[in-house]
């Protein structure tokens, strides 16, 4: 009797939980999985406008970037159908598109003006010429530097500097007594953190991940040159413990006035020039990411957070309606009217950069130039069999690049030599590629 009552109570509780969930799911609602960053959060605030216009309710599932990746990957590969729209990046889009996991966005309306999307973004989010995700905002990387320290050092930053100049400037601005580091760069392990940065740096020294037969290239002199240059630069003029610094740590250092230069995502420009958060807001200049002397490729990446529809969703039409709204020219104008031009999502549309008001935003031109200087289809000096600048757009990349970047971070921390790190990187990469059947 006791057991029966107890089990009855438990199943009643379970049913109660179940029916509540059922009742909630019956309105016309789309569910969107997204990341927690300024532009995305701002968009959530304007969702009511969309609901008023269309009568479609929107539910947001906001997650930290790595949690989101795992979450949406599980759902899309199993056709779980939990989300009607997923926020994904330039790495996932072509791979998922090729696998048939995403709904092609080839029937967007004429007013949407798909040709207005920046060509670099459109290419990066397409597979075989079909667009699979619409960019909400795009970014490249560039140099942010302290104009006051540069002037005091008697140097002038060219629009397109070389690594050799960066080293010279870092030496001149480095001032340990006043806690100013000549330069701050990412060193944190992870393919999207330090891994992305060292990959673009290597590109700008003429290195590449693979040759045309998918053989790893870490045993080549260009990689050794790039990695040694980076380690020496950071050991001489970088902050203490740079091996564990990522975007946020460097952003903090720069905002506190502790970096002469910082090379990172263009999106950081709006943070470091915001007087509410940054102590150096009015002393920041911008320049194109550097290259090594004589190498045509620069160390700037290309990334977009984009909205895609997983195949098999029950609400494809509503999801498309939302994507058209969120990545439209009208949305940009809506944000500009309410919060100013500096706060609109950057890097997605050509027309934004033709707007007179936006051209007055200090980092607008350099952001566009950086995006245009990046070509995912031709990322390196020597030809490669892959697409992608700071990543290689194959499913195996995220795992092996994380391991490789861990080896590099160990070298930054002084736990092993650059040569040892490169040897291990070579072995890790070749092993993965052999296992996956590329070689």
């Amino acid at each position: 009797m006791f057991m029966r009552t107890a089990l009855g109570a438990a199943s009643a509780l379970a049913m109660l939980a179940g029916t509540a969930a059922f009742a909630e799911s019956h309105a016309k609602t789309i569910t969107i999985a997204t990341v927690n960053n300024g532009d995305m959060i701002r968009m959530q605030g304007y969702t009511d406008t969309f609901t008023e216009q269309t009568g479609i309710n929107v539910e947001w599932v906001t997650l930290e970037e790595n949690v989101l990746r795992q979450r949406v990957t599980t759902d899309v590969t199993t056709k779980g159908g939990q989300f009607d729209i997923m926020t994904i990046g330039m790495y996932e889009t072509p791979i998922w598109g090729a696998n048939g996991w995403l709904v092609p966005l080839n029937d967007l309306s004429a007013e949407y003006d798909v040709d207005d999307i920046l060509p670099a973004m459109r290419n990066g989010l397409s597979h075989d010429g079909t667009l699979y995700a619409a960019p909400f905002y795009g970014e490249s990387s560039m140099i942010m530097y302290r104009t006051d320290l540069m002037e005091a050092a008697g140097l002038e930053m060219p629009d397109a500097p070389t690594w050799q100049f960066i080293r010279e400037a870092a030496a001149a601005m480095d001032d340990p007594e006043n806690e100013i580091n000549g330069i701050c760069l990412r060193g944190k392990a992870g393919w999207g953190e330090g891994g992305a940065f060292i990959t673009v740096t290597a590109n700008s020294f003429g290195a590449r991940w693979f040759d045309e037969d998918w053989n790893a290239q870490f045993d080549q002199p260009e990689w050794a040159e790039a990695l040694n240059f980076y380690v020496n630069l950071m050991n001489d003029y970088g902050p203490e413990g740079y091996a564990t610094n990522g975007f946020n740590e460097n952003l903090n250092l720069f905002q506190q006035g502790k970096c002469g230069m910082w090379i990172d995502a263009t999106v950081a420009a709006s943070f470091v020039t915001n007087p509410n958060d940054s102590t150096v807001a009015d002393k920041v200049g911008f320049a194109l990411a550097p290259n090594s002397e004589g190498v045509e490729k620069r160390a700037n990446w290309l990334w977009a957070w984009a909205l895609a529809i997983p195949a098999g969703t029950q609400q494809e039409a509503e999801a498309k309606q939302f994507i058209e709204w969120a990545t439209s020219k009208d949305y940009i104008e809506l944000v500009a009217a309410n919060e100013g031009w500096a706060n609109v999502p950057p890097g997605a549309r050509t027309s934004l950069y033709e707007t007179a008001e936006y051209q007055e935003v200090p980092f607008a031109k350099m952001t566009l130039d950086s995006i245009n200087a990046a070509d995912p289809n031709d990322p390196t000096v020597d030809p490669v069999p892959y697409v992608g600048i700071q990543f290689v757009a194959i499913p195996e990349f995220a795992g092996m690049a994380t391991e490789v970047s861990q080896e590099f971070s160990a070298a930054y921390a002084g736990q092993q030599s650059v040569e040892e790190a490169l040897e291990k990187a070579q072995a890790i990469t070749n092993e993965v590629m052999e296992g996956a059947g590329y070689r």
Partner: protein, 276 residues
Amino acid sequence: MARAVTPQRKIANTAIAWAIGFLIFFPILWTILTSFKTEAQAIASPPIFLNFDWTLENYAIVQERSDYMRFLWNSVIIAGGSTVLGIIIAVPAAWSMAFVPSKRTKDILLWMLSTKMLPAVGVLYPIYLLCIQLGVLDNRAALVVILMLINLPIIVWMLYTYFREIPVDILEAARMDGASLKEELLYILTPMAVPGIASTLLLNFILAWNEAFWTLNLTAVDAAPLTAFIASYSSPEGLFFAKLSAASTMAIAPILILGWFSQKQLVRGLTFGAVK
């Protein structure tokens, strides 16, 4: 016989205990303090301890952006449901193992524990596919069952240890007096094991409350508990530590308060049977 302790020694011991306690509590204290700072103060270097303008702005922003009550309610149902369901199954199981053990009881206990040794992500896909087939993705009832199964070995082990401390003679005496199995369990065993059951309940409630793999991976909107609420404030590209701290404080507050009020039970239960 207790050893004589000099007053100096007593003071020193107390000081050490407080220092260790403070050290363990410090990260939580820091989170709470940070939640009252502005974003700029939150990342200031050198760090600001108490000397800042206290603000409730972060809490207001978090309140405005997220439906805290929905996440809280889901956490209560999932953690509470899985704990109660677990206890209902574990009490008879632990009773039989403690009082009528067989040759294989020890092996079964160890085998049960071995299921805890598999990393959760190893069974993510099978469980996800099962949930799709059964139509219970993003469903609180499914999470109640899954978290119950995950914590069941711990519940059985804890109860088994507590029950073993109870003399079998008392149960036998009850049986001789004509108590049925139900009466034996309900009126004899349970009252004697209350501290043990209470601490098992509490500990499992805390474990289920903090579980952040299944609750994140199997939920979206309807069943998302406070772990998903916190995850929505973590950001690799942007410094939002004050808001993250406010969200974290709101997420741990209920469990902190629960722990505070039940600390006597918790300590008694955890040290139950420790002194032979």
